[in-house]
């Protein structure tokens, strides 16, 4: 039971971090139709900026400043890059962000080197916060969950309750009308893209300290975030939320289970041993296959429910 609770909390906190990442991507995609391949690179930039700020001003300043900086970078990218290729269509935009991801990774190599940085959890958040039946639960993970939930609530409020949110939603469906009403639609898009980048940056500040800040961090989370967006349904924020939690928990629980197909077979009374054909396939434990599961989930989703969990449109 204790084990189950700990794994559940681990799954939820990891899922919430994934949601912080995927939310920015989903918002940008649903509002602008741009799939930002460099989204994970903004996540990485967030961690690196936060590290740089934290060496001078400490962790808390980094938490505030780094996402803003990443947001500015995002706005510059939109203004001077994306807007130029917009006329060539969505594939060109995707290619542009793909090249950008390369460039950001190389720039990080260039400036901060290739090895991991010493970007750590601040002492205030270090250590256990409460006990679950005897096992201490780390404070930082709790903090991670809080930030993520706070972010979810504020995005929702910003999009539905504020004036700028309404303008953004209107610019999505009726850009000409909004333009005619005197709003600067390109500027709205610039803000949206910057905002999405800032969200990724925030995730980077949190995730970089919790896990590791190195030039490989973008590549390692990028594909998972895309899987989440596909599984959740392209452009659906609620879908991304559910898919993030689902994948976070899926990965955590599958790691805890040492089941394999060979075990399943022997349960049915079929004996499979190292001499059976395809033995290495039957012998793979679920815990070993955990990282492949999100992709399998994506494939299954595409076969049985192509529009994703909460997607509204196909295609």
């Amino acid at each position: 039971m204790e084990f189950f609770l700990v794994q559940l909390l681990n799954g939820i906190s990891y899922g919430l971090l994934l949601f912080m990442l995927s939310s920015g991507l989903t918002i940008v995609f649903s509002l602008m139709g741009v799939l930002n391949f460099a989204h994970a690179s903004f996540y990485m930039l967030g961690a690196y900026f936060a590290y740089q700020v934290s060496t001078v001003l400490g962790f808390w300043a980094g938490l505030v400043v780094a996402p803003l900086l990443v947001g500015l970078v995002g706005m510059a990218v939109e203004r001077y890059g994306l807007r130029q290729v917009h006329k060539h269509g969505h594939v060109a935009e995707l290619l542009f962000t793909f090249g950008l991801a390369y460039l950001i990774e190389e720039a990080v190599h260039l400036i901060w080197g290739r090895s991991a940085l010493e970007y750590r959890v601040p002492p205030e958040l270090d250590g256990p916060i409460f006990q679950i039946m005897g096992s201490p639960y780390p404070m930082y993970r709790t903090f991670m969950m809080l930030v993520s939930v706070a972010m979810l609530v504020s995005i929702w409020l910003a999009l539905t309750r504020t004036r700028i949110g309404l303008v953004i939603q209107a610019a999505l469906s009726h850009p000409e009308t909004v333009e005619a009403l005197g709003h600067n639609v390109p500027r709205v898009f610039m803000l949206v893209f910057g905002g999405g980048a800032a969200l990724a940056g925030l995730a980077g500040v949190i995730g970089g300290a919790a896990f590791v800040t190195d030039p490989g961090m973008a590549v390692s989370v990028g594909p998972i975030v895309f899987v989440i967006v596909v599984v959740g349904g392209m452009g659906s924020l609620a879908g991304a939320f559910v898919a993030s939690l689902l994948i976070g928990c899926l990965q955590n629980f599958s790691i805890s289970l040492d089941w394999s197909l060979a075990g399943l077979f022997s349960w049915f009374g079929w004996m499979v041993g190292p001499d059976t054909p395809l033995w290495s396939l039957w012998n793979v434990k679920l815990s070993q296959a955990a990282p492949v599961l999100p992709y399998l989930l994506m494939v299954l989703m595409l076969i049985f429910r192509p529009k994703g969990l909460m997607g509204t449109r196909e295609g």
């Binding site: 390369y102 895309f226 994506m298 494939v299 295609g315």
Partner: protein, 423 residues
């Protein structure tokens, strides 16, 4: 845009293909350094791979981030076939081994393509990425078949020599690659002329209308995908014979990204674009990586510049000059081009200077602060060198702005004249 011409003998086409064959045959004579042969072999393989990629991106409008899956798995099957032949399990000429790779690629194209081609556009791109990651993880998970991260090595000199070919010497391997590259090029070109190739274009440009005419767009994409996977597998098989090792790197996202960049730089809109791209990319990857560790950065910048300013790729840049040449107006563009080139060089020098200096400071941090750049000794810790680089960058930027305005003004004037002449 090329138009269909039903002429029994297209002389121009024969000349082009004949010249290509001759080029393939004569290329190794350029120099007898084995380095050149290594380079040419890699180019040949990448040409097939990039052309197969363009069957998706250029002809079918499908942006894939996981194309290395098909070439890599093709290579794995080829390496096993080669090892079995080596053990004497059955007899098969090495010359035809790339076919094994091609068939393996086709088989996986049939399996994965069924899932990926359900969608098009951005969703297709993401799914292809996911499939690529999945296959990569699986390759490391099953060392019995894939040899783990060490991969599987082999020896291409097996069996009785057929027609005196042992494939021991690199020159023989080059000609094997060249022959396969030539045949694949011809086959892929022929495919663009078939109804399927035409339909793929239609599905790319206007899926709704294609559907309306009675074509199943998903099936067209699926077929195109499978054929493309076949040729990717052939490329994989050749790379297995060339390197005599196949490892997880062969299916990695890095490979997939590489072929995407190569194809795009060359140009997706024209058939010969990817060939050009493969040549440029190999030069970047092999020649430039010998000079500087920042070659990936330069490649990335070059790619971004192409996306921003020349989305048709190098092939397009060349192709748009042809009408101007025909109209005998090219000489008017020489001066603006020269200016733009000079400005570009200035910008490039500044950029290279800045990048190399930062790289030196951050990575090597060695005792020496003086580096040699193009024969100049530059002190990376001294202010003057930074000022010089900054000045170069600024001046280059300003000059580029003016030069590009100059070029485009002349260009538009000529285009208008040509159009008026045509009308």
């Amino acid at each position: 845009m090329s138009t269909l011409r039903y002429r029994p003998l297209d002389l121009g086409r024969w000349i082009v293909w004949g010249a290509t064959a001759l080029l393939f045959a004569l290329a190794p004579l350029m120099s007898d350094a084995s380095f050149v042969l290594t380079l040419l072999s890699q180019m040949g393989i990448l040409i097939i791979f990039a052309l197969s990629y363009n069957m998706l991106l250029g002809q079918g409008g499908m942006l894939s981030f996981g194309h290395a899956v098909y070439s890599g798995l093709g290579a794995y099957f080829t390496v096993h076939a080669l090892n079995l032949v080596g053990k004497g399990a059955f007899w098969f000429p090495v010359t035809l081994l790339p076919l094994v790779g091609g068939l393996a690629g086709l088989a996986f194209g049939l399996i994965f393509g069924y899932v990926t081609t359900k969608k098009s556009g951005t969703t297709f791109a993401m799914i292809s990425l996911g499939i690529g990651e999945m296959v990569y993880a699986c390759v490391l998970m099953f060392p019995a078949f894939f040899g783990g991260e060490g991969g599987i090595s082999t020896n291409r000199v097996v069996g009785e020599p057929v027609l005196g070919l042992t494939y021991g010497p690199a020159l023989q391997v080059y000609y094997l690659i060249a022959a396969w590259a030539f045949v694949s090029m011809a086959a892929m070109f022929a495919l663009t002329q078939t109804p399927l190739g035409r339909m793929a274009n239609a599905v790319r440009d206007n899926p709704e209308r294609a559907e309306f005419v009675g074509y199943n767009t998903q099936r067209v994409r699926y077929l195109q995908m499978c054929l493309s996977a076949f040729f990717a597998g052939v490329a994989g098989g050749l790379s297995c014979i060339n390197y005599e090792i196949v490892s997880a790197e062969n299916v990695s996202a890095l490979r997939s990204g590489g072929v995407l960049i190569a194809t795009f730089i060359g140009g997706v809109g024209l058939f010969f674009g990817p060939i050009l791209g493969a040549i440029v990319f190999t030069l970047f990857a092999i020649a430039l990586s010998g000079f500087t560790k920042a070659w990936l950065l330069y490649l990335g910048l070059f790619f971004l510049a192409m996306v921003l300013y020349a989305p048709g790729g190098l092939a397009w840049l060349i192709a748009i000059q042809i009408p101007v040449l025909r109209a005998r107006r090219f000489s008017e563009l020489l001066w603006p081009y020269a200016l733009a080139l000079a400005a570009g060089l200035m910008l490039l020098c500044g950029l290279i200077g800045a990048v190399e200096m930062i790289y030196h400071l951050s990575l090597e941090s060695a005792e020496e602060s003086v580096i040699a750049l193009a024969g100049l000794e530059v002190d990376v810790r001294a202010l003057p060198s930074w000022l010089a680089v900054g000045a170069l960058l600024a001046a280059g930027g300003v000059a580029m702005r003016h030069a590009s305005r100059f070029v485009s003004a002349r260009w538009h004037a000529i285009q208008q004249d040509i159009q008026r002449g045509a009308a």
